[in-house]
Each structure stands twice: as structure tokens, then as C-alpha cells.
């Protein structure tokens, strides 16, 4: 049960406040109490559950905002956190984006949503199918007009290569506008994987976990059923293997409760009637084994030169298939305490690197890193009083990157069929992306 609900900006501005307690458990100064508690703590990571007397705050951080509920000690943390997360994604569905500005501009819409979602602190329904009957307010989009959007339009309407690829911002628009004539009837199926990997200093894969999900984002008012076909050789668990080809294997799968699985066992087809907005259709995990080599390997040489400087010669190899590439790669390497300055040599001009004294690390950024290639960097770090044991402080290297059009598990969507057959220009998009949740290369 939720007594109060509020959304705060990261600076503590009150964006949305709803008091759903009819019993008067708490005064209205809860927001100040909460924000004082948050700011009293060092660092940017306040505990998820805080209490002030009998008042218990549970909060989540989404889109840089605090989503806070006050409740009693015996309520379920799973429910409240799930509720707040779901609320944030509903707001994102309806406003198109999850930023302070979007929430500010759409406060009327959000209050309308809250009125339908919560009654007297009890959650009524959070399904967008139910809610679409009640929500009348139109979303205001904060996105400014941009010339970049025009680049996707072909000359004189001609179909260019580019128009076959949806811009990455295509899916962040409010679901309400689909009722408008102008709104395109579109459906997005996203296969998103998050990978956490630890590679030992000897190059041995020490840990590999992949968490994946298939998300469907639907802007189609009259789609009654869709069928998603997955790889036929998709298998679950260790024992079960299908077919002779390169099997796509995962350890555990769970489905959204609306998914009908009658064709799943025989031909790996998921059937569902999509509701408006975003929903996670399937979640899966793969642990300990990767079907292919881990995407990056590091060959470091770390030494102390005669002048007392720390020399780091790093070779980074990308083992992706040659047609793929990693983008927005950012490597961070911790350096010993007391490092003051750095000189560097990089193998190509588009890379950059700098020494961040605040976080005691070198940030090496590589905008694009094609598969099968190798990059190298030489860093000379000035550390006064460098002792041999300080070399222990170097590493591990952490990589942040994105692998577009690629899933490490190998999961693919074979086909996407909608019924009834959509009249007009219905667009179906399937997108794959793999993020690095935590990619650690020990040195």
C-alpha cells in the first residue's frame, strides 16, 4: 500500500506529488524530509529504503529523477519497486521520453495517469490496454525541431538505403499520437542483450553472463495478434539440443503472461496480442558460456621506466565478425593514486584519451571499432614516488560499448507476422543491440 507518491528532479524540485492516503498518516512535508535525507548522505547513491520515524521511503532512480513512494514497514519491497519502475515506463510510453523536461511539460497527463493507476494507495491497473480507454490528454513532445531528422527523408521521396533503417529515436515517441492521423502505424521488436564478462589477466574467460530481453513496442491501434518466430534451433537448458546447426542456447527463459506458447515447443513461435506501448515479451539468461569468443581481448604491458614513469602499452583486439563493429567504446583504466599527468600515443586519430584525476583513471574513447581489427595505445603516466607495488593498482580495464545489429547469444527473429493484415503502410522494425553491462579485463 502506498501512502504518498512523488517525483523529484535530481535537484530536489517537486515535479509530481500525489497523496493517496485517506488516513492522514503523514504530513505534506514528506518531500522535504526525503530530500534532506538524500542530500545528507555523501555520494550519489542513497539507500533504496530509508525511514523517518514510521514513514518509510522507497525510491528508484529513472531518467535522472527520483520516483518515491512512502509506505509502511510491512509492505512488499518487490511490489513497490516493481510499481515505481512500471510507473516510470508508463510515463515514458505516454510522454515519449523520460526526462525532467518531459515530466514537467506533461504534468497534467501524468496526474491523469496516476488517478487511474492508484486509488487510495492501491494499484488498480497498469496495463496500457486498460488505461488507453481513460487517458484523454495529449502528450506534449519536448523534442525540438532538428535538421538531422530530415536526413532520413529520401530525395523527392525516393527510397534510399537510409530510409530502410529506423532512426534510433523512432521508438521514443508518445503512444497517444498513434490515434492521430499523422501518427505512423509502426511496431518495433527489440532484442536487447546485456553482457557482463570478466576476463582474467591470462586471457581466460572467468565469468560470462548474458541477460537478454525481447521488447515489443507497438504503435498500432488495431493489431489483434502478432507472431514472432525465433531461431528454430533455439534451445533452453543444458540437455535439450535441437537441430544440427549452430544452436542458440540459453539457460532460462521467462515469458510475459500474455504470451501464448502453443506453437513454441514445435516451431519456436511466440503468439501475443500486443498492447499499446512497450512490453517485455520474453526474458532470458545465459551464464558461464558464450557461443562465440568474447568480443574484446586486451594485451597489456605495464612497466616502470628508468625515469620513474609508469609505462602502459595496451593492445586491444576486437574479435567480432568482420562485418560488425562496436560503437561508442569507452575504456577506463585505473591508475595509481598520486598520478599527476600523462602523455600518450594512439594508433589512429579518431581515438582520444585523457587522465581523469577525479576518478583516478584514464578514459580512452574509441568511436568505432570494427571486428577483426586491433588498436593500440601507449600511456606514460607521471606518478611521483611510484613504487613497484603501485603497479598492483593499475587495472582492471573496464569497457563500455554498444554492439549494434548483433546479439551475443545468437538469438534472431525469423519473422514477424501481424494479423489481421494491416492496411496501409504498416512498418515493422526488428532491432538488435548488445550493451556491455560490465566488461572487465584484468591486467
Amino acid at each position: 500500500m502506498i501512502s504518498q507518491l512523488f517525483i523529484l528532479s535530481s535537484k530536489g524540485d517537486n515535479l509530481i506529488y500525489k497523496d493517496s492516503s485517506v488516513r492522514g498518516e503523514a504530513g505534506s512535508d514528506v518531500i522535504n524530509v526525503f530530500y534532506e535525507k538524500v542530500t545528507a548522505l555523501p555520494g550519489d547513491q542513497p539507500p533504496v529504503v530509508m525511514n523517518h520515524g514510521d514513514l518509510h521511503f522507497v525510491h528508484v532512480r529513472q531518467g535522472g529523477l527520483y520516483w518515491v513512494a512512502t509506505t509502511t514497514a510491512d509492505s512488499s519491497p518487490f511490489s513497490i519497486i516493481e510499481f515505481l519502475n512500471r510507473l516510470a515506463s508508463l510515463v515514458k510510453d505516454y510522454c515519449g521520453d523520460l526526462t525532467e523536461k518531459a515530466v514537467q511539460m506533461n504534468f497534467a497527463l501524468i496526474y491523469e495517469l496516476l488517478d487511474e493507476v492508484v486509488d487510495y494507495g492501491y494499484v488498480q491497473s497498469m496495463s496500457s490496454d486498460v488505461l488507453k480507454n481513460f487517458i484523454q490528454t495529449e502528450a506534449v513532445s519536448p523534442r525540438p525541431f532538428s535538421l538531422f531528422q530530415l536526413s532520413n527523408v529520401g530525395l523527392f521521396g525516393a527510397e534510399t538505403q537510409q530510409s530502410k533503417v529506423a532512426p534510433s529515436s523512432a521508438a521514443s515517441r508518445p503512444i497517444q499520437s498513434s490515434r492521430e492521423q499523422g501518427g505512423k502505424s509502426e511496431i518495433f521488436v527489440d532484442v536487447i542483450e546485456r553482457m557482463s564478462v570478466v576476463i582474467g589477466s591470462n586471457g581466460v574467460l572467468m565469468k560470462a553472463d548474458v541477460e537478454g530481453e525481447i521488447k515489443v513496442k507497438c504503435y498500432m491501434p488495431n493489431c489483434s495478434e502478432m507472431r514472432i518466430g525465433l531461431n528454430e534451433e533455439f534451445s533452453i537448458g543444458k540437455s535439450q539440443l535441437r537441430g544440427y546447426g549452430a544452436a542458440v542456447r540459453v539457460d532460462e527463459v521467462s515469458f510475459h503472461q500474455a504470451v501464448k506458447l502453443d506453437e513454441f515447443d514445435s516451431s519456436r513461435i511466440l503468439r501475443l496480442s500486443p498492447s499499446q506501448g512497450e512490453q517485455t515479451v520474453m526474458q532470458y539468461q545465459l551464464s558461464d558460456v558464450l557461443p562465440s569468443a568474447p568480443p574484446f581481448r586486451l594485451f597489456p604491458t605495464i612497466e616502470r621506466d628508468s625515469g620513474g614513469k609508469l609505462l602502459m602499452y595496451l593492445k586491444l583486439r576486437c574479435d567480432l565478425p568482420p562485418k560488425s563493429a562496436a560503437i561508442n567504446l569507452c575504456a577506463s583504466i585505473p591508475v595509481p593514486k598520486g598520478s599527476v599527468s600523462m602523455s600518450l600515443e594512439l594508433s589512429s586519430p579518431d581515438q582520444s584519451a585523457e587522465l581523469k584525476l577525479q576518478s583516478r583513471s584514464i578514459e580512452w574513447t574509441i568511436p568505432r571499432f570494427p571486428g577483426g581489427t586491433q588498436l593500440s595505445a601507449l600511456f606514460k603516466v607521471e606518478v611521483p614516488g611510484l613504487s613497484p607495488s603501485s603497479l598492483m593498482e593499475v587495472g582492471p580495464m573496464v569497457l563500455n560499448f554498444e554492439l549494434p545489429k548483433l546479439t551475443v547469444s545468437g538469438l534472431q527473429v525469423r519473422f514477424l507476422r501481424l494479423s489481421p493484415v494491416q492496411p496501409g503502410p504498416a512498418q515493422r522494425w526488428v532491432r538488435y543491440v548488445t550493451h556491455s553491462d560490465s566488461y572487465i579485463l584484468r591486467i
Binding site: 525511514n51 514497514a73 512488499s76 492501491y122 532460462e252
Partner: protein, 681 residues
Amino acid sequence: MSSALFSFTLPDAAVVNELYTLLRDPDPVVMVNCLRALEEILKEEGGVAINKPITHHLLNRLKECDVWGQCEVLRVLQRYRPQTEDELFDILSLLDASLVSPHPPVMAATLSLFLGLCSALPAVGLAALERVRAPLLTACGSPSREMRLTALCHIQLLLRSLPGLMGAHYKRFFCGYAEPAYIKQRKMQVLVELVNDDNVAMILDELRGYCTDVNTDTAQAAISAIGGIGRSYSDRCLEILTGLLGLKQEHITSAVVQTMRDLVWVCPQCSDTVCEALEGCEDTLQDSQGRQALLWLLAVYGERVSSAPYTLEVFIDGVRSETSVGVKMELLTTTMRLFLCRPAETQDMLGRLLHYCIEEETDMCVRDQGHLYYRLLHRGIEETQKVLQGRRSDPSLGVLIGRPAEPVSQWACSFNTLDPLKQGPVETEPPSRGSPEHVTFDPKPNTDLSETLDCSQIVKLHSASDRASGCSDSSAEGLASSVAPPLSLSLTPVLSPEEFERLWLQRQDLHTEQDAEKREEEEDCACLVEHIRGPAIAHCSPQSLQAAMQLVNIQTLAFTPPHTLPWRVYLFTHTQHTHSGNAPHSTLIVGELLYTGEANRRVRLVKTGSDDGVLVEGSEEEHVREGGDPTPAGLRESARENGEEEEVKVTLKQQPRDDSALKGFLSILTTVLHTLSSERA
């Protein structure tokens, strides 16, 4: 649809009836809202009536509700108690699908209900925990970090009852680089619990990587996690810890020294390595916690650290600018203790320190402490030695590392509430700063363990006879009822090893001090030493002993391994029995079984019973380490050579005092031990 949700000041019978009827509404949202409304309206009467038809109706319609509705229904159903076992199992099998639900709220609510329903069937409860392992692990990898934290905190609860639950999945608890510190710290706490022979190398390697984390809290948590693992794998951990000292970083060195202090208390065999590592740390240490730990270690192992006096000298020279009272107190004690073992090097600086403390110090605590030591020194070196010679930890206590699996009921009530997520001391947490051992023995207990045992017996004779005359009401009542009231033992509330150790040693310390006030405090507790002849239980496997004890609800906390001498077992239980017309009376009994082995000549003292027949005093047996000293005069002694019979010394402490319960417990214990030894034969 929300019209059902009005709150009323007075329950209106018509409305209530209407709401009960509406529970059968075809719309599940209406059903759930009626349930909520009834809960609120009938709050005074304990909420909506959950009888068999309503329960079955709700269970059958559970599938139609959405996540929130399901949670609500499952929560309300917790009040239902099935009438027969068949019905219970029907309900459990209906709920089985929700137990592995992909939605964490449903999974948690179902498990909570499961545990409530199966409270009488612990095995089923444990099986349910196995079932939720997969969904909980999934929740641990959820994209929402708040959800991850919630799942982690609840996994910590589960591990209290099933320590082996996640052993094979330890890699799931390795920290991600970008995770917030609060998740990393929880994960490390879980990792410490999961260590076994197969994964210890991997886990230590991983934790070693976190020790140099940019976030100092994370780094220190990693170091104390390594210390926690050091209780079972001391060599590997000490290697890592001494390696970390080489980094010469303030926060790391401080955490390492504190961890070593905590570790050395539990694993005295590490002391040599620790003493070597201590050299040169003092330059790096800046914070008061770390310096206190260093001083404590110097006090205890001063004679083995060659540079100890020089280190102290630096501290004493800087005492005027010292701001921390804790450091000053520790410094006084350390200097005193070092003076006892290395007088020539320390005498001068001790004089200076005492002079400063008495003449110049403004803090009362430090000044009083200075006065105390000064007067103590006037009593002569013998007396000082007696008071200050530190109690070294007993190596046989080293087996106190394994926590017994707690029963599920211990934490089931806080499952799926906000409690597990709260900050603050978690029982499963390895001690970080101000470890329980250290806090417990501050001020340091001042006699060696074996001595304590000796003199406690003598003291007890007096105190016991005092008490026998003016014994408290409860024991008098207990004696008056000549027919032994039915006695039952129970394991709850569970006593943690730390708590046990505290109780056990507290009792001993009290006995050593002939202080009138303290005796008053212990008025309501009883001690008993008894010998049980015959059983050769020292050769039993710990498993069978533990199983046998648990059968009669006695919890064994720690063992020495079989076939080692002296062989000890520590145990506890709670007794409960009803005096006629009185409220149930319960007491806590903690005890030790000691078997010193046949190789030693034993002096056995026959117990002396007081007039009213209470077994108050026991016997003394010479301690193995004490050589052949005769036992105190005035007690009848009978020496005997090793016979075929062996005997086990039982020392029991009870709180509050209740002699009949103690007697009852002793007879149960004797029976168990005899049964065990006859099984062996």
C-alpha cells in the same frame, strides 16, 4: 471499478454483506477491490473473514488477476490455516506455478504464503526455497538496480536457512563495474557466505580486485569480506591482506589492520604472519579506527614485534595532538601491557604517558584510566600482571566459524517486507569495524581462560551458597513443586555464536570478580558443573551428535574436530515449562561439554549437594594445560587412574535461574549422550 474503495467509520452490515457478495463478481479487479475494502472496513475485527470457501474461491481465480491483484490476494490468504493436511497440499500445488512466476512481486508473495502455510513442515518450506532460486537469481540480474538490491537482500535471508543454496551460482554475485556501492557491498556479503573449497580461489581473486576500488567504502568492504573468508581459509587470505599493505594507502592499510585484528582473535594460528606484517604500518595509518586496531595488536603480540616500543614512542610523543579518546585509551592499555613483557624499553615512555594522562589530559575517561593504571602499578608487578595479562583467544574456539542453519521461521516474518533492505547491521555480515569480538572484550577480560575456569569454581561455591539461602522466587517455586512439571526444550530464539560467546564469557568474568554489585546482577542465573560417566561421545562424528541433539531440541554451536584433545562442544537451548497456574516460564541454558582424554591423570571431585537438594556445585578437574597442580583444598578429592569408563565434564549456565528446569535438562542431556555412546558400541 474503484467504487468499492470507500472507507467507513462504522462497519455497516449491509455494505459488508454486499461486499462479500461482490467477491464473486466476474471482474477480477472488482473482486480484489472488494477484498481491499473489506480489509479496511473490518480492520478492527482483524480483516476480512478467510474461511475455506472464500480461500478456495480466491485461489481458483488467482490466475485472472494482474500482478497487483495476485499480490493482494496472496497477502490476505496468509491468515488462512488449512484444516487438513490434504487441503494444505492441494493449496500448495495450486500455488506452485506462482512460486516460479517471472514477476518478482508475485514470486515473493507466494513464497511468503508458502512459508506461512508450511511452518509445521520445515522440509516443504526448504523445498520451496529451492524452487524460488531461479526466479530470485533472475531478479538479481534485473535491469533495475533497486530490484537487484531487493532480490539480494532476500537471498541473504534464504541463505540463513540454506547456506548451500547458491553455492554453484557464486559468479552471479560478482560485482559489475558500474553497480552502486550498496549493491556491491551486499554482493560481497553474499559471496562470503558462498565460499567453499571449490570456489574459494575464484572468489578471493575477485574480491582482491575490489580492494583497490576507487570508492573507499567498497574497498574496505572487500577487505573485511576477505577477512570473513579468512576464518576458514586463513593462509590464502593473509597472503592477500599482507600484499595489500604494500600499496601504502591510508584507507586500505586501515581496513587491513582492522581485519587482521578481528581475524587473529578467531584464528590465533595467524598471529605470526600478522606480527610480521605489522612492521611499518604505522606511517600509513591515519584514521583512529585503524590506529586503535594497530595498538590492540601491539598490546597482544608486543613481545613478538621487535619494533613495538618504537612505534609506541611515536604515538606517545604525539599524544598531545591526539584528538581521538579511543586511541588514547588504547594507547594507555597497550603501553601498560607492553611494559609487562618488555619493561626495559618501555618504562620511560610509560612514565611520560601516565604523567601526561594524569596531569594534563582533559578527558575524564582517559584521566581515570591513567589513575587506575597508576594505582595498579603501586600494588606491585604481580598484581598488575594478574589484572592485565590478556586473555588470549582459545584456539579451540576457532571452530566457531560455521553458523548453524537457522530454521526458516526465524526470518519468515520479515520476508517480503522492508526490513531486509534496511541499512545497518545485518546478522550475516562479516564484522567490519568494531567487530563483535573486539567490542565484547573491551575492556579486555583479564585472566587466561584456564585460570578463569579454575577460580570460577571456587567463587561459585560462595556465591552459590549465598544464593541457595536467599534464592529467587521462581526457583523456590520450582523446588516447591515436587512433581517435575513437564519440561519442553526449544531452539528459538536462536543464539548467534557471537551472542553465545558473549554470554558464556560474561558469566565467567562475573565469577572471577568478587564484586557485590555484580553478584547481584547474576542473582537470577545459575551455574552447574556435572560429570557424566560412561559415554565415549568424543569419538562420535559431529554430524551424528548434532543430529541427536537437534532431535531433542538442543542446538550445538561449535565442535572441536573428533579425536582432538581437549574435545569440546558448545550448545544451547531454551527450556519451557508451566508451573501450575502460572504463565509459562522459560529459561536459556548455555553449556559446554569438555572431554580431556584418557592420557591425563584426572582428579575428580564429587559434587556437593546443598540441603535443599539443588545441584549447585560441581567438581573440578585439573586442566590439561595446568600440569599436575592439586585442586583447591576443602573439597573432597578422589584421584583415579584411567578406567575403562570415560567421563565428560558438563558445564551449564542458566538464565534466569530455575533449578528444576536445569535438572530436567541435565537428565535429557545425559540420556542423549548415553544413547549415542551405546549406539557406537
